[in-house]
């Protein structure tokens, strides 16, 4: 017998783990937990919902469609693809102070910047300022890789299709037009401006572009995108950066400018305004619409009523369900509790 005891080499380890006896917490989703849980979740959600809803309601948004499909639109004339250098003006008025800082967006609908092959059509190395890729752009850019055997810089479909309408905003003060200063600084992502996109370290910048051509669709080369500010040219041009960050959904807006300066730092006062649009970008080929959006922002970003309503609805639903469950509970008396 003693001998046997010693010989038990094969005996499994008697530990809590190997014997599957680890202390365990066994949560049971019983009504006793679920009903109070639902009430709590419901209340919290209603609270969040109210906050979101109120915030969203306080955000002012003004959208102006300037596609010009309708014949009575001031931009109807410009929507004809054959018209070049067309300028149209949209007038609008604001009843109350549009609180600043006001964000000035342009918006496009039915525009699939998320199209897969469109998205791949760029050369990240070129855009990070590598001169090697100025001469030999990546084949990803094809067919916007070479133009008559000269390399296109910046190459690719995204750059080529860059949005090129420009806007000027005037306030009509006593019949005279007073230009509203637009701030174009810092509208792109900080990381895009400082890390991802780099101009080649060549001065003047235009020398880096020797032997290259501008994208087919562009009217000016990359180094002359902003004639007013020499630092805002090349790949780190703010508008270019904004465009290059592809929108997730086909109906999108992109930040154009911010109104933060001078008399308008507090916002746009009530009154009449006039928006002068240099109409260049064709949208009829894809049934698109173009619009301008003025909006102020809060901690939750732009206006979005959905989220607040959703929280309210789900919160109330939780409360209702907890009541229903309570009734069921009272009626059926759970078997395990009697």
């Amino acid at each position: 017998m003693v001998k046997q005891e010693q010989e038990l080499d094969n005996r499994p380890d008697n530990t809590a783990f190997t014997q599957q006896r680890l202390p365990a917490w066994q949560p049971m989703l019983s009504a006793g937990i679920v009903i109070p849980g639902f009430v709590l979740i419901g209340l919290a959600f209603i609270g969040i919902g109210v906050a979101l809803f109120v915030t969203s309601r306080s955000i002012q948004v003004l959208e102006i469609d300037y596609t010009g499909v309708a014949q009575d639109s001031p931009c109807y004339r410009c929507s004809d693809p054959d018209t070049k250098n067309c300028v149209c003006t949209m007038d609008f008025s604001i009843d109350t102070l549009f609180k600043g800082p006001v964000f000035f967006y342009y918006g496009l609908t039915n525009y699939f910047q998320n199209y897969r092959r469109y998205g791949a059509s760029k050369d990240a190395s070129q855009l990070s300022g590598d001169l090697e890729y100025f001469k030999n752009p990546s084949s990803d850019c094809s067919p916007y890789q070479y133009d008559n055997d000269k390399p296109i810089v910046p190459c690719g479909s995204i750059a080529n299709s860059m949005f090129n309408d420009t806007f000027k905003l005037y306030q009509i003060v006593n019949g005279a037009r007073k230009q509203v200063p637009l701030d174009g600084k810092g509208i792109a992502w900080w990381t895009d401006y400082n890390v991802k996109y780099r101009n080649p370290s060549v001065t003047p910048l235009r020398n880096a572009f020797n032997g290259t051509v501008k994208p087919v669709f562009w009217s000016r080369p990359a180094y002359e995108l902003d004639p007013t500010d020499p630092a805002n040219n090349g790949f780190i041009n703010q508008d270019f950066l904004v465009w290059m960050r592809r929108a997730a959904l086909p109906n999108f807006r992109k930040l154009y400018r911010r109104i933060t300066e001078g008399d308008y730092a507090e916002g746009l006062p009530a009154g009449n305004y006039s928006l002068e649009i240099a109409y260049n970008y064709p949208v009829l080929s894809f049934d698109g619409e173009k619009k301008v959006v003025f909006s102020n922002v809060s901690w939750m970003g732009g206006k979005n009523e959905f989220l607040g309503i959703a929280y309210l609805v789900i919160g109330s639903l939780c409360i209702v369900m907890s009541i229903v469950m309570l009734i069921v509970y009272a009626k059926f008396k759970f078997p395990e509790e009697d």
Binding site: L22, S30, F45, I48, Y115, A124, A248, F252, R253
Partner: protein, 1111 residues
């Protein structure tokens, strides 16, 4: 190496092929040819002894392994997808990146294969280089290696050495020309077996000029035949003269053999790896994978609707990229491409990682099963063994159990308990008391009846008596039923009960009276009875040796426990079996006198005759005496009148195993004539078995004799186990070779039979019932019976019963056997072997091996339930997880013109499946515990309820749930971010995060018991997601063009909206679960009720279980 023409080489190769394929092989000694060219060697056609079990070679590993792996359909599918991704028009990701998942899977598998193969290589090398002694020209045995052994060599093996090849035994150091071997390496049996030198063979290697004719190699361990033809006279030899490779020589100083098979040895041919069984769950899973493929195709077809959208466009928008020549693909061609792009994009819908995860889960489950201390048997120091690695979950699906009796339900350990001689019963009451005091499980009774009148007439008659030469054909007795088992420990059948028999006083008196009156000469029935017990067996007497020590220096090693029991019984009455050689048996009589009986032949046990005989010559009377021992009905048909039947029936009713012992005196004339037939049969190559059996039957006629009965006690907790299994809704059938009375008695004892709804059917009736026209009705009848008991069935019938039930009723069957019913075990869905007392063949062929019958309860009710629910839930979860995640991509296609854009970085998608969400389901599959073991054992009914975890509807419900959740996870962020300036990856980040939380929380609700491991893995997965994603988005500036996740998660995490979106999406996605909860509260399933009970403290729980079960 001399030059040989290719033609000659080819001719030689062909000749070799022919030589190997021939039914009979002619082998000659290598000695005369030693040192000659290979081409001149007579045995060159037969492979050398070097073994190679490796699958691969170093150079060809990669191509061969890839070839192996591509036998898996899933691998081909994923390689196909990766290749598809290299076609520019359809690719969805960067081509190189798409190769990653399949490469990871392939290389992981290749690494595992390489490691396994390397281990095989190492063990091969070790084996091949083991030293051995081969006779050489120098006229002595030289040390060589195993791999040098060739057919035709003379090999010497010494004590405790392992036999390197199949040797025909020519010489041993033993004066009786026997060699003892242990076959533990081959069949797990540890008792010694005797092999005898081939008679008529010359031993001197130099003068060995004969030709050994042997049959083609086969894998039958118990069968071999050959003969030598030096001259006219053939000398036959069988398995009794063959030392098998892998056996160990014991108790014999040395032995010399002639190599008949090298490499193609019986042990090698038996080594055909583990069997592959596919579980029921896995079959269902494969069907569901096909549904996934259909789903995938449907979704891709929706994607191909792309062309409708393209056609609706009035012009060419700037975001459509033409090809290099400036042309856009037409809508239909474009749709065609889109279809393939979508397949690539949505490929994870077919869960490649599911198969890998299932394997991992099964490894974990097997780890826990084999490590369960409750399934550990202290007596034999053996754990539960899982031989089939992929059917653990089937243990939870069993509906029918087919059990053998002996060694399965019963201990198969016997003690001499009662006997009846000359119509008088000797109850051995002292023995019963001993058994009760000592080890109540194992008892045995022997009943010996002798017909008084047979003394004069019956004993010595009849013509065909002859005594053949001896051949100990012990392997035949491996057959199950009456002659049973073998001990597992290194001491065979030596439990105190078997060895300590307290003689019955009345019987002792009878013996002493008989002795004093007649001495050893007179054939007194009492003396004959004990002589028969001592002689009529194949028990090996071994003296105490160093490694097999025993207090007492006589040790009996028997192939069946009843033989040992009978010998010990005889010993207790003073008839001591002192020695057994193939030629003689020495028995010491109570008077102290030693009698040496000359053994003329041993007619071994076989399942057809169900008896064995020993023919001896009495040293004093010089009579030829045939002692026969066998199952009562096998003996009774040879006796004229059914005498002592009353006692036999009586014992059978008490559940005793009954044996009869007979004696017959054979006249010299009969013996002579019989001997000729016998010898002819032994030397025959064709039909050797039948001829030998015929000769045995010839002799075993007109017996006159005595009867015995033996009881085999139930193992501990058998009634309890059977009760529990039946309460669990499992039908338990007992199939036994016993007679109906014994079987019914055992049936009552193990509570199999309690009520009237029982079917007892015997072998002959069963044969009719299983005939094609009655099958249906038999199955129908059996289905209605609570229990079925089949008695007197043969092994073949057992397997037919299992097969018929399995096929007709489409149920999961499990067969348990403790002996050698390989057929039955293999016929069932799951075969369980009990590594108990009898042979190990059942264990070798089984899928799971346990050591006690009672282990079956925990194995099925607890491990079976757990394994099944765990794996089923894991698989369902896996499908859900993949569909839920992939659908996010699908919904996005509606907003990106079906172009195949992914709004999540591809690397992050790979990480998501590879790291963030892979460990939790595997852990869930290994460790989740829905109900505690105590409760599962306490309420066996839960077993049945647990069987429905994975049904057709559960799959679709989970797919629907996945669709719902993916809709929520996509559209809530979509609505929250629509019309804003959000970019692609910034939009994808909350989606990815929401689905991570939803998927993990979904699992959290599924997890029933949270241990430390759960917490670590779940929280670790979430932490890993954020750490890896943050690190990746901080490091990767332009590393993965064109997609670029740089600083995305960082900027999102600085935005309160991100958290609000994630919160509401997760909550809404999981909201339907509350209905589940409500259902559980209003009408809780038994499992849920059980979980409630689990939360109570043990004493309160006991109370509840009792109340609950009383319903």
């Amino acid at each position: 190496m001399t030059w040989r023409s290719p033609l000659a080489l080819m001719r030689d190769a062909l000749r070799g092929q022919r030589a190997r394929d021939k039914e009979l092989r002619n082998l000659v000694s290598n000695l005369p040819y030693e040192g000659l060219d290979k081409a001149k060697q007579p045995n060159r056609h037969f492979p050398s002894n070097a073994i190679k079990t490796t699958k691969y070679t170093l150079l060809l590993f990669i191509p061969m392994n890839l070839f192996e792996q591509f036998h898996r359909l899933a691998n081909i599918y994923f390689v196909g997808l990766a290749i598809l991704n290299f076609i520019p028009v359809v690719n969805a990701f960067q081509p190189e990146v798409a190769l990653i998942p399949i490469c990871v899977i392939l290389s992981l598998t290749a690494m595992k294969d390489a490691w396994e193969d390397f281990r095989r290589y190492q063990s091969d090398r070790k084996l091949n280089n083991t030293p051995c002694l081969i006779y050489s020209k120098e006229k002595q045995f030289m040390e060589r290696r195993w791999k040098d052994v060739r057919v035709g060599d003379f090999v010497k093996v010494v004590c405790n050495e392992i036999v390197p090849a199949d040797l025909l035994l020519l010489h041993t150091s033993d004066p009786n020309s026997v060699c003892h071997i242990e076959t533990a390496n081959l069949d797990g049996e540890t008792n010694l077996k005797q092999r005898t030198v081939v008679s008529g063979f010359l031993f001197e290697p130099e003068s060995f000029t004969g030709v050994v004719v042997c049959e083609k190699p086969n894998n039958n361990l118990n069968h071999f035949k050959c003969y030598e033809k030096p001259d006219k006279e053939r000398a036959g030899a069988g398995i009794e003269s063959l030392l098998l490779r892998g056996c160990t020589v014991r108790n014999t100083d040395h032995a010399v053999g002639f190599v008949v098979y090298a490499h193609e040895t019986k042990s090698m041919l038996n080594n055909n790896g583990s069997r592959y069984k596919r579980s029921k769950l896995e079959r269902k899973l494969n069907i569901d994978v096909i549904f996934c493929v259909i789903l995938l195709f449907a979704m891709c077809l929706v994607g191909a609707l792309h062309f409708l959208w393209l056609q609706a466009l009035p012009g060419i928008p700037p975001y459509l990229v033409p090809d290099s020549s400036g042309h856009l693909d037409g809508p239909s061609l474009s749709s065609f491409y889109t279809f393939f792009t979508m397949i690539i994009l949505l490929q994870i819908l077919i869960p490649i990682s599911l198969y890998v995860s299932v394997e991992l889960v099964k490894i974990g489950q097997i780890f826990f099963i084999t490590n369960d201390t409750d399934l550990f048997d202290e007596e034999t120091d053996s754990r539960m063994q899982c031989k089939a690695l992929n059917i653990t979950e089937d243990l939870g699906q069993i509906e029918y159990i087919f059990s053998d009796k002996t060694g399965t339900l019963t201990e198969n350990k016997m003690v001499f308990r009662r006997c009846s001689i000359m119509g008088t019963e000797y109850p051995h009451k002292e023995n019963i008391r001993l058994a009760v005091l000592g080890e109540p499980e194992s008892e045995e009774e022997v009943i010996f009846n002798q017909r008084p009148q047979s003394l004069q007439t019956g004993w010595s008659l009849d013509a065909e008596d002859t005594t053949p030469r001896d051949t100990t054909q012990r392997r035949g007795s491996r057959h199950r039923s009456k002659v049973a088992g073998i001990a597992q420990s290194d001491v065979a059948f030596s439990s105190p009960l078997e060895t300590e028999v307290i003689p019955d006083k009345k019987l002792l008196q009878q013996i002493s009276r008989a002795e004093s009156s007649s001495g050893s000469r007179k054939t007194d029935p009492y003396l004959d009875f004990f002589l028969a017990l001592a002689i009529c067996n194949t028990v090996v007497v071994s003296m105490a040796t160093a490694q097999r020590r025993r207090s007492d220096n006589l040790r009996y090693e028997a192939e069946s426990p009843d033989e040992a029991a009978l010998v010990y019984a005889a010993k207790a009455y003073g008839f001591i079996l002192l020695a057994r050689t193939p030629d003689s048996v020495t028995v010491r009589l109570p008077s102290g006198e030693d009698l040496v009986f000359k053994v003329l032949d041993t007619l071994a046990f076989d399942s057809n005759r169900k008896r064995m005989s020993v023919l001896v010559q009495h040293p004093i009377t010089k009579e030829y005496v045939l002692y026969t021992k066998g199952a009562d009905y096998a003996i009774m048909e040879l006796l004229g009148t059914p005498y002592a039947q009353h006692h036999l029936d009586c014992y059978a009713k008490e559940g005793l195993r009954t044996l009869c012992v007979t004696k017959k005196v054979v006249s010299a004339k009969v013996y002579e004539s019989w001997l000729v037939d016998r010898q002819r049969a032994l030397a025959a190559i064709d039909n050797r078995e039948e001829l030998i059996m015929d000769t045995a039957v010839q002799l075993e006629t007109n017996l006159s004799l005595l009867a015995t009965g033996i009881e085999d006690r139930l193992q501990e907790n058998v009634p309890d186990t059977i009760m529990a299994l039946r309460e669990a809704g499992i039908q338990v059938w007992v199939l036994t070779g016993d007679k109906p009375e014994t079987a019914v008695n055992i049936g009552y004892a193990c509570r199999l039979l309690e009520e009237e709804d029982l079917l007892v059917i015997d072998g002959r009736t069963l044969t009719m019932a299983l005939s094609p026209d009655l099958q249906e009705r038999f199955v129908d009848l059996a289905k209605r019976c609570r229990s079925v008991l089949c008695c007197r069935v043969t092994p073949l019938q057992k397997s037919r019963v299992v097969k018929v039930i399995r096929e007709k009723l489409k149920v999961m069957t499990l067969a348990v056997d403790g002996a050698n019913d390989v057929n039955m075990i293999q016929a069932a869905d799951i075969g369980i072997g009990i590594s108990g007392q009898e042979g190990m063949q059942a264990v070798m062929a089984s899928d799971f091996a346990i050591s006690r019958f009672r282990h079956l309860k925990k194995l099925l009710l607890v491990h079976g339930h757990w394994c099944y629910t765990r794996l089923a839930n894991m698989i369902i979860y896996f499908f859900y997880k993949n569909v839920a995640y992939v659908n996010l991509l699908f919904w996005y296609q509606f907003f990106c013109g079906f172009s195949g854009t992914a709004m999540i970085d591809y690397w992050l998608m790979i990480f998501f499946n590879l790291f963030f969400t892979s460990a939790p389901p595997v852990m869930f599959g290994i460790m989740d515990k829905d109900v505690s073991a105590e409760l599962l054992l306490g309420v066996p009914e839960l077993y049945r309820t647990g069987q429905g975890a994975y049904t057709f509807s559960t799959f679709w419900v989970s797919i629907l749930d996945a669709f719902y959740q993916s809709l929520v996870c996509f559209f809530i962020p979509y609505l929250a971010y629509q019309d804003s300036d959000i970019d692609i990856f910034t939009f994808g980040t909350p989606l990815n995060t929401v689905s991570l939380f939803t998927i993990l929380l979904h699992l959290s609700i599924e997890i029933k018991a949270w241990t430390v491991v759960h917490w670590v893995i779940m929280l670790g997965s979430v932490a890993l997601y954020f750490v890896v994603t943050l690190a990746y988005s901080a490091i990767c500036v332009t590393c993965n063009p064109p997609s670029n996740p740089y600083w995305i998660l960082q900027s999102q995490m600085a935005d309160p909206m991100f958290y609000l979106v994630c919160l509401i999406s997760t909550v809404v996605a999981l909201l339907p679960y509350t209905f589940h909860v409500m259902r559980n509260s209003i009408a809780p399933s038994p499992i849920v009720q059980a979980r409630h009970l689990d939360r109570l403290d043990p004493s309160e729980r006991e109370q509840w279980i009792k109340e609950w079960r009383s319903f």
